[in-house]
Amino acid sequence: MTATALLPLLALLTSLLAAVVIFVLPESSHRVRILVNLMAALLKLVIVALMTWGVFHGVDFSVSFTMLPGVSFMLRADALAMLFAGLSAVLWLFTTIYAIGYLEDSPNRSRFFGFFSLCVASTMGIALAGNMFTFFLFYEMLTLSTYPLVVHRGTEKALRAGRNYISYTLGGGVVLLLGIAWLHGLAGDLAFRETGHFQGADPALHGQLTLIFILLIAGLGVKAGMFPVHGWLPQAMVAPAPVSALLHAVAVVKAGAFGIVRVVYDVYGIDFAFMLGLLQPLAWLAAFTILYGSVRAMAQIDLKRRLAFSTISQVSYIILGVALFGPIGTVGGLVHLLHQGIMKITLFFCAGNYAETLGVHRVDELDGAGARMPATSTAFTLAALGMIGVPPLAGFVTKWMLGTGALATGVEWAVVVLLLSSLLNAAYFLPIVYRLWFCPVAAPWPGERRWGRLETSAWLFWPPLITTLMLVLVGLLAATAFSPLSWAQLIVVRMYLP
C-alpha cells in the first residue's frame, strides 16, 4: 500500500485506535489516557498537515475497496476534504486539552474520551469520504458516537435531550439514506467529483433528481440545524461544554453543512443544481434560518442556549454561501465553515469556563465576570465581535466574502439578510459583553473555585486563548498563502475551473 493510500487511512485510524485504547484502559489510569489522547491528536495534526501540503501540490490521496456489490468504501482527500479535516484536526487537539481539564475528577471519563475520539474519527471520515455512501457511513457513525456524549451527565434532562437529539438525527439519517439509495439506484456509485455528475443528465430524470435533492438536503439539514429541523440543537446544550463546543464547531452541525456542500458541488454540480432551480429555495431557507436563529437567540437567558441558537443562525451562512451560485459566495461559505468553527468553539470554551470556574450558567449572572476572569472574557468578547462581523476578526472575512458574492451574482437581498443578521448578532452578544465588563458584581459567584495564579485551571485557560488568537489571525492574515481564505479560494478554483 502506497503512502498516498495510507495517509487517509492513518488519519482515520489515529482517533479510531485512540478510541479503542481508551475504551480498554481502566477508568483509573488517567495519565495514560491523557497521554494517548494528546499523542493521537498531535499525530493526526501532523498527518493532516502532511496531506494538506500534498493536496496543495496536487497529490491525489485516495483509497477504496468494494463493500457491497456496486458500492465501494472510498476515502479521498481533495482540497475541500482537507478544509474540514484540518478544522477537525486542529480543534480536536484544543478540545481534547480543554476536555481533560473540564472533566477533571468527574466520573465516566473513559467512556467520555472513548466516544469523543470515536466522534472525531467519524468527523475525519466525513471529511475524507470519497462518495456519498462512505459519507453516509461516517455520518451515522457520528450520530451514534455523539449520543453518549450528549447524555454524558446522565440526568433526566440530559437523557431527554439525548432522546430528542437521536430522534432528530436518526430521522434525518433515514431521509438521507432514502435519498442516497435512490440516487444510487438511478446513477450508480457516485464518487465526489469537482464538477458533479449530472451535467448533461437526461431531462426526463430531472423530476426525480429534484426530489432526491430535496431528500438529501432535508436529511443533511437536520444536522446542520436548518429551520424547521433545528429543534435538537438548543436542547443538546445540556452536554458538557467541550461536547457542545465539538458539536457546534466541528462535528455535528458542520457535518451537515459539509454534506450540503458536497451534494451541491460534488454530486449534482453547482451548474446543474442551479439549472434545476434548487438553489434559490435553498438560499431562502438559509436566509430565513439565519434570521430565525438570531431572533430566537435574543430571547434566551441560558448562555449556552443562546450560543446554540446562534449556531443555528451561523451555520446557515455556509449554506447561503453555497446557494448563492457564485465563486465568491462559495468562498465565503467555505471559509465560514472554518471561521465559525473557531469562533464558536471559543465561545463555548468561555461559557464552559464561566460554568466551571464561577458556577455561572445564565447570562444575567455574568455581571462583572470580566474583572474576575479577564482573559476568558477577552476571548469571549473577541469571539462575539467576530460573530457580529467586526473586522479584522474571522467573522468579518466571511461576511465580506458572502456579501461580495451575493452582490456579484445579483442577489441583493442576501446582503440585507447579512446586515440584519449582524445587527441581531450584536443585539444578543453585546449585552453579554456589556455585562462582563461594565456591570458590577451583583452577588458572589454561586460556585466559584480558586485555581491559584491563573484565573482558572490551565487546561481550561489556554485553549480559548489559543483559538482566540487563531480567530484574530485568520482574519488579520486572510490574504496569506495558507490562510483558510486562500485555501477556500483554491478549492473554488478547482471546483469552478476543472
Partner: protein, 487 residues
Amino acid sequence: MAGLLFTPLAWASLSLLLDFRKGRCVSWLGMVIQVLVSLALWYAVMERGGFSYALGGWEAPLGIALRVDGLAVTFVLLTAAVATACGLHAGFYLDACKPWQRYFWPLFWFLWAGLNGVWLGADLFNLYVSLELISLAAVGLVALGGEAAALRAALRYLFAALLGSLAYLLGVALLYGRFGTLSLALIDEQLASCEPALIVALLLMLAGLALKTALFPLHGWLPPAHGIARSPVSALLSGLVVKASFYIAARLWLELGDRLGSPWLAQSIGALGAAAVVWGSWLAFRQPHLKQVVAYSSVAQIGYLFLLFPLTFAVAEPVSLLAQQGITLQVISHALAKAAMFLAAGNLILSIRSKRVDALAGVSHFLPFSLFSFGLAGVSLMGLPPSGGFAAKWLLLQASLASGQWWWVGVLLLGGVLAAAYVFRIYRASFLEVGDSDDFYHPPQSLEAIPMILALLALGLGLVAEPVLSVLSLPFEVTADVNEAQL
C-alpha cells in the same frame, strides 16, 4: 460433509452420558472439531464449487441426499460461529449446580445437527426431519429453565412447532403425490403448469414454515419462549433456529414461487412481514423486561426476511439477486447481532439482578463493556452503517427501488427508526446516573468478551459484505466424484 452431521450427533450422545462440567469440556473439544470441519467444507466449496453428496452411498429418495452450495456453506459457517459462541458462553453462564442443566449439551448438539441438516438437506422430507430435530431440541432447551413459566413457554412453542411441521408435511405429501419425488431439483424440472393442488401444497408449506419462523401474526409463541429461556439458549433460538424454517421457505419460494406463486401472494406475504416489522418493533418498545425487548425485536427483524417474497417475484434477475443477497446478509447479521444482544442482555441481567429495563439505571457507569456490546448489536439491528444490517438494508432498498415496489422502502426505513427507538430506550435507561455506588455483580471477562466479539462481527460485516457475498455466490457444479467430499 457428513462430519457436519455426525459430529454433533456423536457428541450429543456422548454428552448425554456426562454431567454438566464434563460435558462442557467434551463439548468444547467438539466445537473445535466442528468449526474446523465447517472451515474445511468452505475450503472445498471454494476450490471446486458446490456439490451433491449422498450419505453412505445411498441415493435419494431412500437415502439422505446432501447438497452444498455457497449459500449453504455460508450458513454452515454462520452456525459454527454463533453456536460456538453460545456454547462457550453457556459453559460459563449456566449454573452447573442444577442437575437438569446437564441436558443442555445433548440438546445443544442435536440442535446443531438439525441446523446443519437443514442447510445441507437436498430433499423435502429430510428437511422435515431436520426441522423436527431442531424443534424438539429447541423446546427442550427452552424448558431447561425448569420453572413453570419456562415449561409453559416451551409447551406453547412445541405445539406451534408441531403444527407448523405438520402443515409443512401435508404440503410435502401433496407434492409427492403429484410428482412422486422429494427432490426439490427434480420437482423444479417437472413443474410445468400451475395446478390448484400444487398451490395449496405451497401455501400449506409456507404457512407451516411461517408459523415456525414466527411471522406476524403467527408470532405469539416466540417472545415468551425466547424471553424466558436462558440467555445462551435465547441467542441460539433467535439467531439460528428461526432462520432454519425461513431458509426452507425461501428455497421453496425461489425454486417454485415463480410458477406457483402470484403477485397477490407475494405482496401479502411481504405485507405480513412489514406488519411484523412495525408491530414487533412497537411491542419491543413497550416491553418492561429487557429480554422481552430483544425477543420482540426478533419478531420485527424476522419481518424483514419475508420481504424476500415480493422482491424476488416477477422481477428482473439482477434485482432478484440483490434482494437475495440482501436477505442473506440480513439473516447473517441478525443472527450475529441478536446472539450478541441476547448474550449481552444476559450479562446485564446477571449484573443488575433484575430483568426490568428500568433497573438498568447506572449500569453505564460500571459495566460499559456489556452495554457496549449490546449497543453495537443494536447498531446492526437499526441498520446503521457500517453494520451488516445496514448492508442488508441497503441492498433491499436498492432492490425495492429497482423493482418499483417503493412501498417497501418505507417499511425498511420505518423499521430502522423503530429499532432505534427500542434500542435507545435501553441506552437511555442505562445512562441514568443514580449515585456512585457500584453494587452490581461483575460477570467474568470471558462472558463479556463473547457478545462483544459477536457484535463486532455483526458490525464489521458491512465492511466485508463483498467477500461474504462472494462466498454466497460460489458456483454449484455437480461432481461425480463424491468420495472426495467425505469430510
